[in-house]
């Protein structure tokens, strides 16, 4: 089967755009990715659109109404926070299968404000707040507390993740927020769900990102100078574990995806130059250091203490600012992190460039659950 290459990729600067529509935001990123590839919508053979909140509203088709109704197949994808990566993977798969040579994947979301999760509705009385909390800050607080119980990880260590990622975002013009937050500021911010304070929760923003993918044959024909090779694309759902249905297990789901991704790419975590992982909450990032094999189990606290995951450290994590600071528009995140890694592999990341970037890994996980991991390689 053919190798698949990213020929064009871009994202809009994340922010709040209440006066724009979701298709308008998506169309913007799509056009930017096409321009980046030096191609037109007429050159695309299919469009995969990732959007969660309007999943039944034909967002992909409405994007084509903005940039050119060429009659190509459109698939609208939804997979919680893994929505964008799922759209990207579907695009990848269609080329791998030999069906198409040139495909575009677009991820877009308009978020509104407030907590995610904790649903309600239906008969009876709402359980939220009565039978514990099912909100996302709580789910990830629980996961963090479990890590704390096993390894003694402290509130301060979790908070350091926010300090790091907020600092990184000051170097990223595409990030929603670009504000330094010292440790005391993070720890003294409003407590949402212990140990996650407001500054340890990802920010709800509007955003979009898109990627143009090509078969090897097409990529060679068009030129490989700025191409990025997709070395691995993996998607998993959450395998049953003991408490998974009450306390969603983001660890097993991620470990399964990471293992398959390293196998598919033929590399190990030690070969990675940078990682963009799913820091939906500061506690999550700590867990994923271990889940992605960046360190041994129990070592994540030491990793953040020693600055190993900061820009300039042993394995830079979330130099984009991550979901905590760049923002987390659900449908866009899974392609925005592909943009970040690709930009470093192309040597175009400016002030936040990880030197000599060769392999990068992207990771997203959506509750319910879906975990997607991609490994990208610089084309020599």
């Amino acid at each position: 089967m053919t190798d698949v290459f990213v020929l064009g990729v871009d994202m809009i600067k994340f922010g709040r755009f209440p006066e724009q529509t979701v298709p308008e935001l998506g169309a913007k990123a799509a056009q930017m990715a096409l321009d980046d590839a030096g191609l037109k919508i007429q050159d695309m053979e299919a469009l995969y659109c990732g959007n969660l909140y309007q999943a039944n509203a034909m967002v992909g088709q409405r994007i084509l109404q903005e940039i050119g109704q060429t009659g190509i197949p459109v698939v609208n994808c939804a997979n919680a926070c893994a929505t964008g990566a799922t759209a990207f993977r579907e695009a990848w798969m269609s080329i791998k299968a030999g069906i198409y040579d040139l495909v575009i994947a677009v991820g877009v979301e308009q978020m509104g404000r407030g907590l995610l999760g904790g649903g309600g509705g239906g008969k009876g009385i709402p359980k939220e707040g009565l039978l514990g909390s099912g909100t996302m800050p709580t789910v990830f607080a629980e996961a963090g507390m479990e890590h704390s119980r096993k390894y003694g990880t402290t509130f301060e260590q979790f908070a350091k993740v926010s300090v790091k990622n907020h600092h990184h975002s000051t170097l990223n013009p595409k990030a929603m927020y670009q504000i330094e937050t010292p440790l005391e500021t993070v720890m003294n911010a409003e407590m949402i769900s212990y140990p996650n304070t407001k500054l340890m929760c990802s920010v709800n923003v509007d955003g979009s990102a898109a990627a143009v993918l090509a078969s090897e044959r097409k990529a060679k024909e068009l030129g490989l100078r700025r191409a990025v090779r997709v070395k691995a694309s993996v998607l998993t759902s959450d395998p049953w574990t003991d408490r998974d249905l009450v306390m969603p297990d983001v660890n097993t789901c991620t470990r399964l995806a990471a293992k398959k991704a390293y196998e598919m790419a033929g590399i190990g975590p030690e070969d990675l130059s940078l990682v963009e992982l799913h820091d939906c909450f500061a506690t999550a990032e700590i867990l994923h250091y271990e889940n992605l094999g960046l360190c041994k189990d129990g070592e994540a606290g030491r990793m953040i203490d020693q600055g190993q995951t900061a820009l300039g450290g042993k394995i830079p994590v979330n130099v984009s600012g991550g979901l905590l600071s760049k923002g987390h528009p659900l449908g866009a995140t899974g392609i925005a992190n592909i943009y970040e890694v690709s930009t470093h592999l192309r040597g175009e990341a400016g002030k936040r460039q990880v030197p000599n970037a060769r392999f990068g890994l992207t990771h997203v996980i959506g509750l319910g659950s879906a975990c997607a991991v991609h490994v990208l390689e610089k084309v020599a």
């Binding site: 008969k123 009876g124 009385i125 709402p126 707040g129 009565l130 039978l131 514990g132 909390s133 099912g134 709580t138 629980e142 507390m145 119980r149 509130f155 407590m191 769900s193 212990y194 140990p195 003991d242 408490r243 009450v246 306390m247």
Partner: protein
């Protein structure tokens, strides 16, 4: 109002989430593995038709 959302393993198997009451919502005072008992009380909410509900809570085992 801060409250405590707790995930509890039950003797005999199974895991349930609920509110832990009868304790200060202070992370320093709540320990993993602390013994818990289940009690039942009337829920503080009624549904749209005015029906009352009985619900479970966790509290520290006395």
């Amino acid at each position: 109002m801060p409250y405590v959302s707790a995930v509890v393993d039950l003797e005999g198997g199974g895991t349930v989430k609920g509110n832990l009451i009868g304790i200060d919502p202070d992370p320093a005072k709540i320990k993993m593995g602390m013994p818990i008992e289940v009690i039942y009380k009337k829920a503080p909410r009624k549904d749209a038709e005015g029906n009352e509900y009985l619900t479970y809570y966790f509290q520290p085992r006395s």
